[in-house]
Subunit: 417 residues, 2 copies
Amino acid sequence: MALIKKPVTGMKDIMPDEMQIRDYVMGVIKETYRAFGFTPIETPCMENIANLSSKQGGENEKLIFKVLKRGEKLNLKTAECEADLVDNGLRYDLTVPLCRYYANHANDLPNPFKALQMGNVWRADRPQRGRYRQFMQCDIDIIGEPSNLAEIELILATTGTLGKLGFKNFEIRINERRILKAMAAYSGFQEADYDTVFIILDKMDKIGLSGVAEELVKAGFLQESVDKYLALFEGVEKADDGVAYLARELGEYLDADVVQNMQEISASVTSTKAAEFELVFDPTLVRGMSYYTGTIFEIAIPEFGGSCGGGGRYDKMVGNFIGKDVPACGFSIGFERIIMLLMESGFQIPQQPKKTAYLIEKGYPGDKLAGVIARAQEARKDGQQVLVVRMNKNKKFQKEQLAREGYEEVIEFFNRD
Amino acid sequence: MALIKKPVTGMKDIMPDEMQIRDYVMGVIKETYRAFGFTPIETPCMENIANLSSKQGGENEKLIFKVLKRGEKLNLKTAECEADLVDNGLRYDLTVPLCRYYANHANDLPNPFKALQMGNVWRADRPQRGRYRQFMQCDIDIIGEPSNLAEIELILATTGTLGKLGFKNFEIRINERRILKAMAAYSGFQEADYDTVFIILDKMDKIGLSGVAEELVKAGFLQESVDKYLALFEGVEKADDGVAYLARELGEYLDADVVQNMQEISASVTSTKAAEFELVFDPTLVRGMSYYTGTIFEIAIPEFGGSCGGGGRYDKMVGNFIGKDVPACGFSIGFERIIMLLMESGFQIPQQPKKTAYLIEKGYPGDKLAGVIARAQEARKDGQQVLVVRMNKNKKFQKEQLAREGYEEVIEFFNRD
């Protein structure tokens, strides 16, 4: 049977050009986060299926690639449903594995624990342009830090990374789940309805303020609540300081701590940032995952329509593993989108080594080859990149190819030399 | 239901200490191979099950983690065997994916194509100490280079990498499938029996020359052949130049090309090597995989009993994908073993940045926090690693922990400051 040349459906081979940029970006990420005291960790790509199906992954739980049981554990005759066939699955994110990791090793980890994870995740999404079923996620989390020091450091490290990669004039949009809730409560929505209200609010980007109003009314909410709610968003837009405006309007609905927390983050980030970006309070920012408990944030890069990453505080999730809540806050960088943006912009990696190709004529005497290799080894010691290859019959074409690969200098070795 | 804290059976979480060494080693590998013109590539972790079950993976094909079909493709009622349930599997090595990748993209790749792959592979081996079901492989391959330039560059790059990591006095053992065959033919073994003979020969390390002789006789081979065969190995051991000795003894059984090829590799490597190691001809080296067609080699590090990596020439394998043979030669570094050796030897990563921790007392005024952060940001710009954390109640313990993590300097910020 002939073998199959294509990668499996929805996944991609990474070509040398892209791989070089990926490696460079991974290097910048590691270096920048290390400067903030983040330590890289890794978990297996497979997780117990029970952990992956615990309702913490939201919609992603429907997209799991499941791994067949092996040996005696697999009994096809008695198997009645999928669950009988599988014990593990490929992880769909790095947050569930991080919480498991922390639960398993808390005693051996620093407190707070600042983790950097870069690894593949798998989701059986419908294949579409620029979206693959295997993709790299890059997550940075601080576990065990209850104060806004976590948010401040996460935002500074992440924006510092983006700045080093050449991104400018981007935004970090920030909101607070407790502000979202206070606005809803003040407007007269019932707590049981918050999720429905927020799902509609989340469409603001696409349908605008009037679209949101229309959908809320259509969903059966009181016109009075909807009007009150919308007036708040209009108020924030007009205000110089949106958080301060809401603090005045919402009164006792909004805890003074929440306001102070947001203002401290804003002050610290704005006065110490090492990249050109704006920190913007965005009361319409919802973030899908239900596990967020406090601040939420998102990266918006002007060259790219949607979000290029985001995160927030999830103080209740580790508790699912150890039965005791532990404060946690994380940021996930949209690694694949960033690579795509850099590729599209013709990004050049800075400080590349000098690249030289040695072409050796066919039949070049074996006893003289060592001399050529020795010369290459010397140049490599000096930090050069030296490619030693046989001279092709079509030397012109070979040189053109080498030039495209960045080999500017070509040295030829002939038999007669 | 309580969630499961442990990683899935036979797989491991990687702790910060080990991860730092892994990252460092990966960096050295990438840098060294790049100097030789190798380019990193990546393939998906999943491959079509047909590619993984094509008899190229030997025993590893029995250890595949198979991935359940999804959606309409999965029909539990009509499924009669495992094959009906799965369409993909997790790769067990990087060689099959590399050949598929090359077959799929040959027109867009340089010729010769020098590839560096670092990625996880999965094998459902019986769990045992130091052996995991997910582990990192590091493969370097040259596709399209028929001459021994491939072997020379692979050995120089790989030994250069090991040298940079501090390994000394190790050996590269080298042999040739065609020498193995010529020795067997000369001794009177039938071609159909070669595999059986080589499997027994492969035990030389464990059972010695006499043990091999015993097993060969027990397997039904003629005493005369066995004696002749063993005399060859004894002859090589006594000879100054084992290959030259075999060239004389084997006469027309051994192609002169093979001898010249081995001698050229030896001369070029020995005179240009950038690390302290010996290139040793070892006629007992077999290497398990049946796909090797020419030279085979293995890394032997004295601190470690077994092999720390190996490889060889496999000129027929790419042909399985494109119906036309393409010369190929590769080296697989035993990444996990190297990490284990470095961990056990107390390896220290060179040139670490200065590490300083800022401890901030609880209740430190939010409006002054920005000043502390600004100071940290300045130090980070200077290349320092600065950890900003809250001061714990047990400050002595906290400082001890920080010292263990390498934070030699600790600066404290008090409310009263």
